[in-house]
């Protein structure tokens, strides 16, 4: 009985961990200065709707990064075009979180986003791949 409970508990724990990992996917910037993740106001992501994202920036060892300026560019590598909008950071909300407004995707397919974090001139860029 005890073993069965342990089994159920461990399965539940594993599933929870997987779910969290999916929600909290993170990307290390190219030079390894920052680790970033995001949460979209539009969930699930869909085409042709303008919306905002909140980025979370932390150091590789997990400390929130404050005072950063976030900029985002990107596009569809297979289509040779950029984002249809020019998203911009509008607020730093504390604890390493930054609001970037003005995301819109106008095609289904593979997108690539270049997210640059700049803290007093210490710049580094992460490449986020996403498929809509």
């Amino acid at each position: 009985m005890y073993r069965r409970l342990l089994l159920v508990a461990s399965i539940a724990l594993t599933m929870t961990t997987i779910a969290l990992a999916e929600q909290n996917e993170s990307w290390l910037t190219r030079s390894g200065y920052y680790r970033i993740s995001y949460r979209s106001d539009l969930e699930p992501l869909a085409i042709n709707r303008i919306h905002s994202w909140t980025f979370h920036v932390e150091t590789p060892d997990g400390k929130p990064v404050t005072g950063a300026v976030i900029s985002v560019t990107g596009g569809m590598p297979l289509h040779n075009h950029g984002l249809p909008t020019d998203p911009a950071m509008t607020a730093e909300t504390g604890d390493g979180n930054y609001v970037v407004e003005g995301f819109r995707f106008h095609m289904n397919g593979a997108w690539e986003l270049f997210v640059t974090v700049d803290v007093d001139g210490k710049r580094d860029t992460a490449v986020l791949a996403l498929t809509l």
Partner: protein
């Protein structure tokens, strides 16, 4: 004997090869089954996925029935033009799905571009081929002062509303007291900051306060026109009936609704022909700007498209961030985060593919007389005359495939989803 035998064999093999090639090229072809991803895409293209009409916070009377009725009357009123012969409905003809059947619109003169339909434009963040307007109401103002269209000035438009008792009463019930524009010392015959030179100098001579009175009345005319226009929506087409049947697993109904050629055309539309990259969502448009290498109109320089449009919409006093927009919060993400850049040179806004049948000719200057002409052009993927054609390689569709694609596109025609009274001139 041997030679005779081998000759017979060669003939037989050649004949068999020719037959096989003929069968492959011209024989019947049957559509493949839809995958789960295909079905999801089909659902997203169906009119059943169209969200409710989006609110327009910049237009406080957008959903007001009195405004819609007033807008309906103005839409068909030729007195809004300088020569008394042109109304909005001259180019946006309800029986032609609110287009005019001409390569370029013809009002008082020849308009710069092909007339786009107003059907379903309430869903678009941008209006016009170059997106130089960001709301239906702001768009409705531009033709009134375009010398090639209505050829009027905003002061004359405001004066018409104030002098017609029916218009004045409806206007005042919506917006409050309308100033008296009869005093010619304050309000000259014609005045506008963007119309002909004489009207521009008359505008300069007016006081800032009087200019504002005119601008408010003028922008309200746009808002009532938009209240009417936003009620004109596309209706469910044969394509939507097909999607409904096929996603419900009802193959019998699906086969009755669509021929094999139409299904094959739809499959090309979604895959090899790459149409859904831009013609996506239930209105079959992403309302974005793309350079697809459409040739310029003969004898004209190529159209610069969105690269000019984005500058114009940012500078427009009647845009979402301007003084005449009703949304005090100035929540205008589309305009605020609109982008510019070389990619937008020669880019024009993706049109909806609903009701193509009644809206020829096609492209921003009506360069393609028929749908077949347009499909041939996309199939070739020519180099853009300015900027860069996003479709870099020819699609490689055969003549037969182009016919299937055209057959499918014609399944998107349907009666409009609007009250019948909106589709004819008002009774009085």
């Amino acid at each position: 004997m041997t030679r005779k035998k081998s000759t017979t064999t060669v003939i037989a093999v050649t004949a068999a090869a020719l037959l096989a090639a003929g069968w492959w090229l011209f024989g019947p072809r049957y559509p493949a089954d839809w995958s789960d991803a295909d079905l999801a895409l089909l659902r997203s293209l169906s009119i059943d996925s169209l969200p409710p009409l989006p609110a327009d916070p910049t237009n406080a009377v957008a959903d007001n029935p009195i405004a819609a009725r007033l807008g309906h009357r103005l839409f068909f009123d030729t007195r809004l033009s300088a020569n008394g012969a042109v109304s909005c409905a001259s180019c946006h003809q309800p029986e032609r799905r609110f287009t005019d059947g001409l390569p370029r619109g013809r009002g008082i003169g020849l308009s710069g571009r092909n007339t786009r339909s107003i059907v379903g434009t309430a869903y678009s963040p941008w209006l016009y081929w170059d997106g130089r307007k960001d709301s239906q109401w702001s768009q409705a103002l531009a033709p009134l002062e375009d010398p090639a269209e209505h050829g009027n000035s905003r002061l004359q438009v405001a004066r018409l509303i104030s002098e017609d008792p029916g218009y004045r009463q409806a206007y005042e019930s919506l917006f409050g007291a309308l100033p008296d524009f009869g005093d010619r010392t304050r309000f000259p015959d014609r005045a506008s900051p963007i119309a002909a030179a004489e009207a521009r100098s008359a505008w300069q001579a007016m006081s800032t306060a009087d200019q504002k009175l005119v601008n408010v009345a003028f922008s309200n005319v746009g808002k009532v026109l938009a209240a009417y226009e936003r009620r004109i929506l596309p209706g469910p087409a044969r394509f939507d009936a097909y999607v409904r049947a096929i996603t419900a697993g009802d193959k019998t109904t699906a086969q009755n609704v669509f021929s094999d050629e139409e299904v094959l055309g739809l499959q090309l539309f979604m895959h090899q022909a790459r149409c859904t990259e831009c013609h996506n969502g239930p209105l079959l448009t992403n309302n974005e700007f793309h350079n697809t290498g459409v040739l310029s109109s003969p004898g004209e320089l190529p159209d610069r498209g969105r690269i000019n449009g984005v500058r114009l919409v940012r500078d427009d006093p009647f845009n979402c961030l301007g003084d005449f927009a009703d949304d005090a919060a100035r929540n205008c993400p589309e305009l605020t985060y609109a982008r510019s850049g070389v990619e937008l040179i020669g880019a024009t806004r993706t049109p909806s593919l609903r009701n193509l049948g009644g809206t020829a000719p096609y492209s921003h200057k009506g360069q393609s007389a028929t749908l077949a002409d347009l499909l041939k052009l996309y199939n070739r993927a020519p180099l853009a005359m300015i900027g860069h054609n996003e479709v870099e390689k020819p699609l490689g569709l055969s003549r037969r495939e182009l016919k299937w694609l055209e057959a499918f596109l014609n399944t998107l025609d349907a009666p409009l989803a609007a009250e019948p009274e909106w589709l004819t001139p008002p009774a009085n």
